[in-house]
Symmetry: C2
Subunit: 406 residues, 2 copies
Amino acid sequence: TVDGAALWNDILETARFGGTPKGGIRRLTLTEEDRLVRDWFIAACQAVGCTVTYDSMGNQFARRPGADDSLPPITMGSHLDTQPTGGKFDGIIGVLGGLAVLRALHATGHETRHPIELINWTNEEGARFAPAMLSSGVFAGVFTEQEALDKTDRAGIRFEDALVGIGYRGTEPCGQHPVAAYFELHIEQGPILEAENKTIGVVTGVQGMRWYEVTLTGRDSHAGSTPMTMRADALLAAARMIEAVNEVALAHGPDAVGTVGLIENRPNSRNVVPGEVFFTIDLRDPDDAVVERMEAAFRDRAAAIAAECGMQMVLERVWDSPAVHFDPACIDAVRRAAGSFGYPARDIVSGAGHDAAYMARITPTTMIFVPCAGGLSHNEAESAESADVAAGANVLLRAVLDADAR
Amino acid sequence: TVDGAALWNDILETARFGGTPKGGIRRLTLTEEDRLVRDWFIAACQAVGCTVTYDSMGNQFARRPGADDSLPPITMGSHLDTQPTGGKFDGIIGVLGGLAVLRALHATGHETRHPIELINWTNEEGARFAPAMLSSGVFAGVFTEQEALDKTDRAGIRFEDALVGIGYRGTEPCGQHPVAAYFELHIEQGPILEAENKTIGVVTGVQGMRWYEVTLTGRDSHAGSTPMTMRADALLAAARMIEAVNEVALAHGPDAVGTVGLIENRPNSRNVVPGEVFFTIDLRDPDDAVVERMEAAFRDRAAAIAAECGMQMVLERVWDSPAVHFDPACIDAVRRAAGSFGYPARDIVSGAGHDAAYMARITPTTMIFVPCAGGLSHNEAESAESADVAAGANVLLRAVLDADAR
Ligand SMILES: NC(=O)NCCC(=O)O
Ligand SMILES: NC(=O)NCCC(=O)O
């Protein structure tokens, strides 16, 4: 089993990098805070006998040699970047839990057949550069490296420039790294495990998700002297579309969700009727057909609203990540590992996207969930129990050894 | 009469300071662009024989001596600050039209009984520091100087620090400057004069206006794994309130207007259900009682929306500028001046706030409007005809001489 206290200590220690007064973390990808935690990651992995490299997308690989070092590695991983107001667990326990596994192997001198690798993926959150899971996406061949390098944040900074800026653009081409299997430990980020008193979620897949960008162009005008009937108010049109996203999600069954998370209003002045609004939409459901129907329903609603509000509208789908079904043998390994420890467990579908969703395209993959308080995530108050995190890392350890033995 | 060509030239020349690619101006108050146009103003006024001073709020006064220099000055004025995406005329023609009057007096050597002064008011727009008309408000005793100096912009910069930063905090205490009358030339910023083919609007008053700030606090959560029923989505609640502002304005008769011009969404990330939104509201009507009823109606709607969306709400009225009725003698002087030139004219109530609204509290005051294309203002495409602007300045000249003769 892993050293749960050391794992918890790592969580608290790395939470310094971008730590917020409210106890959360602001560690947007490819910032100075990200650089600091990457440097820490290298030192911590070297301390447990690993060699650390990084590829052309900045993905970090900590490698523990195997008895047959020519075999492709069994991999574990997740991400150390966070949301602007993120928590201490999302992504982080997948990396630090993997480190706990490496530490346990190192402490006992356990020899595996395959090399074991721990991966820290770049820009999983998609908070700074859209979409999410960008670098595991390049690794898995979903995006070309060039399109990823050319992504810009909302301030117009290119991904490549930010990556070079923190000194983490490696020479190994992203994706040319063999893997035998991939396991990712993560908090659930939803309410189910806690509500049912389960310690382990055996993750069978990831729901389908799509992202959209909408730009509405109306007409800037004076808030005092422009009659209501002469306005082309882009923020009013956006407000109606935000309501429409909500209604469309509610109308598509219990699992569908729809969110407007980001909005930019222009010129954003108290006495100017807004002339331009940019906003994003996130639609998800475990069933891709439902996501498709939600998109169609929203497109109809949006076209009607744009017409009634006198808007020019550009509505673009910028990301489509279809539902994923994980590898049955890997899922089974996790289920057996949980059982062997006697941890209460249940199968679960992930509502959040994860690097595992893209890794599943190229290698046998699954995930392990542990509960988080109130199902709250993407929130500075995100919290998880030390014992649950350690349990998740134990399951990760045993599933990795199981895969190594197969 | 004024030199219309010189006036037009001044408009184009000063449009350089903060000029935008789309032909508008971005010259937020107390920025470097504002400093440049203030420097220009001093030189231009000195060139027509004036002495230029500025007070503790940065208001600039260009003074042309009178035959009896102990008399309080007849004043003209407006502002040179603009919206983030403002036009070349709003405020500007009031200052440069006043300069054209001074130039005409200078060119003919005309001696007035009173001194004549031209005022460039600081922060009329209210775009950087709320509320609008802040420094004429201090001048007229509506706000204390200290509360004005302590105002902060959305980046947290204090008014006083910005004022000192551009070198325009004067030693003359704001408000200790005698005035005998105040005239302000401005574009209408609305559609009426153009629609009725009038050259001059004889402004009888300014409608009532109130500003509000609303902060909604819900709960940041994950856009993928948080069921619709477990959300406290501050942006959805804000969207409903934006719709409510629109409905309340429409329900209060043909003149009422309501606008949400500024919104800040937090954390503003694509895959985070927004936990906090800040937005502003602007409500106006020529009848203060209607504004009062709109406020009450909105407060009811907002409370209901906050409750249904699980929001904590802070709703604060941050500005109340009641309807203003200008001085009958000044109004009459403008009406006669327009008639003497044969300009088609009509009475009009201003939908926009102006420094004249506060000056009216302390001295006989009125305004002169000229048409602008399509009634469009607070827009980079704002435009006015050179001949109309010159006509407005001619009326200003004659009204000032009329007041001087009284
Ligand atoms: N796990 C996680 O929060 N990933 C971010 C991608 C998403 O939006 O689901
Ligand atoms: N004239 C003008 O646009 N003033 C700004 C204050 C207002 O919002 O009316």
